[in-house]
Amino acid sequence: MKITFQINGVEREIDSPPMKRLLDVLREDLRLTGTKEGCGEGECGACSVIVDGEVINSCLAPICQMQGANLLTAEGLSRDGRLDPLQQAFLECGAAQCGICTPGMLISARSLLDANPRPTRDEIKEAIAGNLCRCTGYIKIIDAIEFAAGARR
């Protein structure tokens, strides 16, 4: 099936089996390996991407549902070599350890700040409730998102 969509600002057309997971199209066909596979069943959020302004699990979306969609992955966060304020904040706050949850955390946080530029700590926790991190205990991740929101003021 031929599918056309926009990804990180670029129009792409691919020919793919219709039920192939968006996650696999990103990693295998488009070589965008920033998006990670964790559980493969919608629990961990490592594969989070933004589709038409909403964060979803790319392991649960068949590619046939992406016709005409506008996608943002971790690779699309930086612009012209400048990091997204969230990426800068994750670096400065030490919010990454092993790193496998980081792209998904950044995507969920980006989706939150786009809708709500000044979230409370509880709103941040709610926004990343679908993203598991087994290293940090979340505190530094929440700090970093708060810091990035402050930096945008």
Partner: protein
Amino acid sequence: MVHDPAAWSPTSLDEAYELLAERGSEATIIAGGTDLMVALNSRSLDAGEFIDIWRLDELRGVSDEGETVRIGSLTTYTQLIKSPLIQQNLPSLVESSRTIGAIQIQNRGTLGGNIVNASPAGDSLPVLAAFDAELEIGSVRGVRRVEFNRFYTGYRKTVMKPDEILLAVRSRKLKPNERSFFLKVGARRAQAISKIVMAVNVSTTGAVINSINIALGSVAPTVMRAVETESLLTNENLDPTNIERARRTISQEIAPITDVRSTEHYRRTVAGNALAKILHRLM
């Protein structure tokens, strides 16, 4: 994937009807995919053909029909949570939608998917049962309406025929003297599949219960109404003695099993406690 399943992505309801008439016996309908893709990825679902209905915008959205609210089957949990019409008239549906998965799932999972997937643990189902909702089901043969409380015929079984598709849910609005409650017990707040889930609609005058609808999930092969407990409480006083009787009755009335998420004993105890907690909040 060893073998790639085929899929059709119709862009109109008529086109979907035709496909279902032709291939409905072999093909599985996929909406938001939050349950089906898990099964497909783990190979517990062996399906060779899918009809992807994601492009059917005519099945999306919430509308005010005066006495009732109509919810298109492709409406996502996020759309329900954000809808002022649902917040005002079906508040327990907003509460239940907020407990389903996390944001990633709420953005993609649909009310229709939760219904047709027919899991006894579907979190929106007790709410629809407590509101006596009605379902609108379509096919090339026409549109029919089915009471939600008659939709399930057994574990993961429904009255739907292979050529049919769920179009919408219709529910009455909350009445002025009525309150709706939703309570879910799971291992954690986000991402958990329920151990028990309960929805209660209750109308009172002073301390007297005029009518009460109690629905539960994860405690029987399908979502169920606790009719014995309902009749025990109807036209009775809301007092500690009656609450105690209701707690004991409901824990006997349900038919839970022991599984990976919980035990039969725990579910009976917590169902009683959950109902008592809701009734105490009314006192």
